[in-house]
Subunit: 203 residues, 2 copies
């Protein structure tokens, strides 16, 4: 297991991927890059470069998953698009190959269900969106589901809870990979000092 920080980060996108699942981490990683870090970040579309995301964004990915470069860290977002993908054997075989080629395997929300379907989470601790935990458990029956953490690291596999939790995970990873001071710089630049309104929302 290569624990060195990745020099390339690939972000998977697909139809009905959840926008904030991947734009949160993208914002964090790319803000770190802008401080002068020698890392490359790119998007990988499945099955084509053009995808229509869950909340309406229409994206053109930098590459396709099949033909794009192998990233050293691969991030898999969630969203309703994970449901059909969880049953798509051709996709899952390619995803497993790309995950095996990466040093770091990352997911946000129900992206971890896709990791689970490839078998990658067998015997591992992992998390997912709380609301979607039945989907996760069904997709990763040999994983230990963690339901009380924003993100869970097991080896070089890091899975996060739902949607906005990907921001916390990405900031934490920047700190682990490149140092806590850089993570704090990123936090300041994106003004991530959250104050959710109506603070007594049910957790």
């Amino acid at each position: 297991m290569n624990e060195a920080p990745p020099k390339t980060i690939g972000i998977l996108v697909f139809d009905d991927a959840e926008e904030l699942d991947f734009t949160g981490p993208l914002e964090v990683f790319a803000t770190a890059r802008q401080t002068g870090l020698p890392i490359e970040i790119f998007t990988l579309g499945w099955p084509r470069r053009e995808v229509h995301c869950a909340k309406g964004l229409h994206l053109v990915a930098d590459h396709t998953l099949a033909d794009g470069p192998q990233p050293e860290a691969l991030l898999v977002p969630g969203g309703m698009g994970t449901r059909p993908l969880a049953k798509n054997d051709a996709f899952l075989a390619l995803l497993r190959q790309k995950l095996d080629g990466a040093d770091w395997q990352l997911s946000v929300c129900t992206g971890s269900a896709l990791l689970g379907r490839t078998g990658l989470l067998d015997g591992r601790r992992a998390t997912s969106n709380r609301i979607a935990s039945p989907f996760f458990r069904d997709s990763a029956p040999r994983a230990t589901y963690v339901d009380d953490e924003r993100y869970v690291r097991d080896g070089n596999i890091v899975t996060s809870a739902g949607v906005s939790a990907g921001i916390d995970m990405a900031l934490w990873l920047v700190g682990q990979w490149f140092g806590v001071e850089l993570a704090r710089t990123v936090q300041t630049r994106i003004e991530y000092f959250p104050e959710p309104p109506y603070a007594d929302a049910a957790d």
Copy 2:
């Protein structure tokens, strides 16, 4: 001033717009919509539908700003792309027309500098990204700059601080427009119970 909740929300995008500035609010508003709210959300590209955002996302907007529908709420994100736009008279004239046609004028980060450049913030209280406050003050010399709030409402103009603050603003607006219970439902669905790591980052 029409204080009714908007039935349409338009999100401006342009080259070097900051991804999280608009994808955060999009996620919040669209998650509210998915509960059954009769609202429409669309993106408006300037000057064309295809734009390349600040952190590398390549988007195809639903419409152009010039030819798209007039939204009842118009959200203007920030990002380095605001610098050339702040000097683009043709853009600023069109933006002012679209802002005047909307019931609600919203901005995230340095989007408020663009609102300022149209004259819309004259005599108003508003905020922006803290780091970019000189740009905001220069662009909105007759506004009162608020530097200690995540978002500021003055009439139907609501401006937020940098990048991730747009999520807080959008959740607050969902509560104001459609009720606090719906805002809490959205907060739960996107699991916005943030736990920034390395918590003693400089504020």
